[in-house]
């Protein structure tokens, strides 16, 4: 058998890594055009002279926008609120999602396991806005919960404030991010060798001691990945704080929307976006450190 036709082909000259890069090219090009370039644009105009109605880069470098962001409590408090909200949601999602993921992971029967996974994934099949309208039907002032409480006499005419506040936003974000958390955890928990837990039991650890000393540390990669994912989803969410918070829970994405869509202040909107991006990067750095520590000093 002769391989001459292969040797002669221009693809062969590229070598193995060269061919791999060639395959990755469409993805890289897409990423550059539709992600890197717009982001670079945002960076550029965030350092530009604030000029209402002007979108294009004016090449007038200054820090005015950042000074404005960090000196006005309206903005820096929104940053703290956004980060706090995202951290809270990722913690709540973990507490709700871990037991669910644990049950799915330890369900050995393949049919039952698949069914549980489908139930979790079902939640992701509907568009988020539609799901949020569903939540409104449940949690609104005249929603099912308040109507039920009125009917049973637990409350008078004044409804419980379940929506258009911080609580509503948290519920909406937890509902949205729970499947992501469960998906991040199931694989990791399934990957824990059962003999590690058995070894701990045999060495004298009770069920709960085994859980805390073995199962949880071994789930750490999934816990951290899930929390990072949920943090990013919640931190950057615009739709949920808008619909469930009724413009009353002002987070950074709402500021970006207002600055750009309502006031035409592209430069300041970009600044808020850059700050958000920086906070996201920071949270990833924290994640990386924590993951390294959790896996015995070598990630």
């Amino acid at each position: 058998m002769s391989n001459d036709h292969l040797l002669a082909s221009p693809l062969h000259k590229l070598g193995k890594t060269g061919r791999a890069w060639l395959l990755a090219t469409p993805g890289i090009v897409y990423f550059l055009i539709f992600f890197a370039v717009p982001l670079a644009g945002l960076f550029l105009i965030s350092f530009d002279k604030p000029t209402a109605g002007v979108v294009e880069v004016q090449w007038m470098f200054r820090l005015d926008n950042f000074v404005r962001f960090f000196t006005r409590s309206l903005y820096y408090e929104a940053a703290i609120r956004s980060a706090g909200l995202a951290a809270l949601v990722s913690a709540i999602t973990l507490f709700l999602g871990y037991p669910l993921a644990y049950v799915i992971a330890k369900t050995l029967n393949p049919g039952r396991n698949t069914l549980l996974m489908i139930l979790v994934l079902c939640a992701m099949q509907l568009d988020m806005v539609i799901r949020l309208f569903g939540l409104m039907v449940l949690m609104g002032d005249n929603g099912l919960i308040n109507e039920f409480l009125r009917w049973t006499g637990f409350i008078g005419e004044t409804p419980l404030p379940l929506m258009y506040n911080f609580f509503g936003v948290v519920v909406g974000l937890v509902q949205f991010s729970l499947p992501f958390m469960v998906l991040s955890l199931v694989g990791v928990i399934q990957g824990i060798n059962p003999s590690l837990e058995e070894a701990a039991r045999s060495l004298g650890a009770r069920r709960w001691q085994t859980f805390w000393k073995i199962t949880i540390p071994m789930s750490m990669p999934g816990i951290l990945a899930g929390m990072l994912l949920v943090f990013a989803i919640s931190f950057s969410s615009y739709v949920v704080p808008t619909l469930m918070g009724g413009w009353k829970v002002v987070v950074l994405p709402i500021h970006i929307y207002q600055q750009i869509a309502e006031l035409g202040k592209w430069q300041f909107g970009a600044t808020v976006a850059v700050v958000m991006f920086a906070i996201s990067l920071l949270s990833m750095l924290v994640y990386q450190r924590a993951a390294a520590k959790a896996s015995g000093g070598r990630a």
Partner: protein, 356 residues
């Protein structure tokens, strides 16, 4: 140190009977092996003793106390897993200290016991290593140190050598046996490797399809297997179809495809019944005519000669059947060619009549 008594132990998985009515008593300080092919119930039995599988039928007693209802952490048993189960998020020191910390010992006590355990298994200096940074053999030693440091009443080993390469396996075999005898700890060892079981054990239970086929010392198991399964599973055997020609108090005569062979007598055999003669290949001498009382000796055609390093394997035609002989590879040995005839001889009582 303790003795272990299994009484009428059975285990179902759904409708599958994994362990079928096992009764055995393991003595204090004994090295006891459960030997059998995969799926014979040996690991399930071991896991029931450890408490990882529930005991529903029968009982497990340690020092006369029924432990069937106890949780694994209440049984004071050391278990070494096939994959060693070293906790990957802890270093060697913390792995070994794990059981001691649960027992709320003082830091000084823990430290001195961990260091003593490390020394016992020859792993001093590895305190800060993690699982990924150790070879299989080193993990094995740490796994042993981790259970021995808690001073368990019995030691259970589940195929602990099967993940190691051959040379290390040979070395660890003797090392584990020496460690066990110096500690005098009652040990139950699960393996599918007859070499390991024969080398290390005081007694072996050969298991098949959930049942114990035979219990005995390595020598008893090898020399006097009681049924066809044990005969074929332990070592190699010629399995020759025969007809009983004559029976006396001291022995019997068999007809193997027209060749008359004498063999030791077995209870309940009848003249003209079909039976089976089992014969170890290494008990068959080649090239020597043994014209003595109590020997079988024939001249048979050679079908094949295979060189296998330490020994040479001959395949003879015995009627329509085949007879294998393995001869130690001595420098001065004769190697007759295939197609020629050679004398084969064996002592009559090295053959065994086995039940079908």
């Amino acid at each position: 140190m303790a003795n272990v008594k299994l009484s009428e132990l059975s285990k179902y998985y759904g409708k599958n009977l994994a362990v079928d009515n096992i009764s055995v008593e393991i003595m204090e300080g004994e090295f006891f092996s459960l030997l059998g092919p995969s799926g014979c119930g040996k690991s399930t039995t071991l896991r029931m003793i450890a408490g990882f599988e529930e005991t529903e039928i029968g009982s497990i007693e340690i020092d006369g106390v029924d432990v069937s209802g106890l949780l694994p952490e209440q049984r004071e048993i050391g278990f070494v897993f096939q994959n060693y189960a070293i906790f990957p998020h802890m270093n060697v020191y913390d792995n070994i200290a794990f059981g001691l910390r649960l027992r709320k010992l003082s830091a000084n006590e823990i430290d001195s016991r961990v260091r003593a355990a490390l020394e016992q298994v020859g792993m001093t200096g590895f305190e800060n290593r993690y699982q990924k940074e150790m070879s299989g053999g080193q993990q094995q030693r740490v796994a042993l140190a981790r259970v021995l440091v808690t001073e368990p009443r019995i030691l259970l080993l589940d195929e602990p050598l099967s993940a190691l390469d051959k040379n290390l396996r040979e070395e660890m075999k003797f090392w584990i046996k020496d460690l066990q005898s110096s500690l005098g700890i009652t040990t139950i060892y699960v393996t599918h490797d007859q070499g390991e079981a024969l080398t290390m054990s005081d007694r072996i239970a050969v298991m098949n399809e959930g049942r114990i086929a035979q219990i005995g010392t390595p020598e008893e198991i090898y020399e006097h297997p009681t049924d066809r399964f044990v005969t074929e599973f332990i070592g190699e055997s010629n399995i020759l179809r025969a007809k009983v020609a004559a029976v006396s108090d001291t022995g019997c005569e068999l007809d193997i495809d027209g060749q008359t062979v004498s063999a030791p007598v077995r209870d309940g055999i009848l003249v003209s019944a079909d039976t089976i003669l089992a014969l170890r290949p290494e008990r068959v001498l080649v090239g020597e005519k043994a014209d003595k009382e109590g020997w079988n000796s024939f001249e048979l055609p050679i079908k094949k000669v295979t060189y296998q390093g330490p020994f040479v394997r001959f395949l003879f035609a015995l009627g329509t059947q085949e007879l294998i002989a393995e001869v130690a590879n001595r420098q001065d040995m004769e190697k007759p060619d295939p197609g020629t005839k050679a004398w084969v001889s064996w002592q009559s009582d090295s053959g065994r009549i086995i039940a079908e």
